[in-house]
């Protein structure tokens, strides 16, 4: 295990993913949830780049995907923030527990 390999990155990414999940699941602040999403996306990206490195078939594709993910994450953050701001304008809070209009 001392030789650096794919597994290490995958485990790191899994940890990041779990943290992201936990972050989304526990934060009540909408911005915090957004951060959790970023963590999850980063976890995915780590995987992509690790595959790029360690799997010959992914030399380009892994990077392409990682770039796309980064770009989309930025876009997502922008839209999410716009939504959050709107929500804040309407409700005066960013507590997602207040955002229960979809309650069945």
């Amino acid at each position: 295990m001392t030789e650096l390999g794919l597994t290490h990155f995958l485990i790191l990414s899994a940890f990041l993913f779990a943290c992201g999940l936990l972050c989304i699941a526990t934060k009540r602040n909408a911005v915090g949830i957004l951060m959790g999403v970023e963590l999850v996306l980063n976890a995915a990206n780590i995987n992509f780049v690790a595959f790029t490195r360690y799997l010959p078939g992914f030399r380009i594709e892994g990077q392409v995907f990682a770039v796309l993910v980064i770009v989309l994450a930025a876009a997502e953050a922008a839209v999410a923030l716009a939504i959050i701001l709107n929500f804040y304008n309407n409700r005066g809070t960013v507590d997602v527990d207040q955002a229960n209009d979809l309650k069945g």
Binding site: I11, L12, F17, A18, L85
Partner: protein, 168 residues
């Protein structure tokens, strides 16, 4: 025990610790700071893996752009100084166990995956990447471009200052 491994260990520790920090921080800006470290760590992880372009992109887009936006948003929407929204312990336990379960499963899958023979090699630089974007992966590239345009307009629309009725 080579340098790469050591560097990886350091970076991984940084990333993991600050990720934990993100989760456990009570205030949003602190979370953001920890996230900053995570992201930077990830960026350096890319450098470590040889994906310089990606690392730089991660820095410029995530750290310089996204995260600033996030913090910005956090500041704009915080009702009072260092506002804290707490979650119940039960929820923490529940979410924590789910996350732990997912982590465990992912790790076991990772072990299986990592056990397969892999090969290393240089990662292509920005040139081939750009070529790929303009040739074989043109469609996703274009989709993302359009997507960005839509996001630009959409975000501007959503966040625009709404004229209150009565105000000029």
């Amino acid at each position: 025990m080579n340098l790469d491994f050591v560097l990886f260990t350091i970076l991984a520790t940084l990333i993991a610790a600050s990720a934990v920090g993100v989760v456990s921080s009570a205030t949003i800006v602190r979370s953001a700071v920890f996230l900053l470290f995570t992201l930077i760590g990830v960026a350096f992880l890319y450098f470590l893996l040889g994906a310089e372009f990606l690392g730089a992109t991660q820095l410029i887009v995530y750290v310089g752009g996204t995260l600033v936006l996030v913090v910005f948003g956090g500041m704009l929407t915080t009702a009072g100084p260092f506002n804290v929204l707490r979650t119940k312990t039960a929820e923490w336990v529940l979410s924590g166990s789910v996350a732990a379960g997912v982590f465990a499963l992912l790790v076991s899958i990772s072990l299986q995956l990592g056990a397969r023979p892999t090969s290393t090699g240089d990662i292509p630089g920005p040139g081939p990447l750009g070529m790929a974007f303009l040739t074989t992966h043109l469609l996703p590239f274009e989709i993302v471009s359009v997507h960005l345009l839509v996001v630009l307009i959409g975000a501007a629309y959503l966040a625009r200052a709404k004229k209150k009725a009565g105000s000029p």
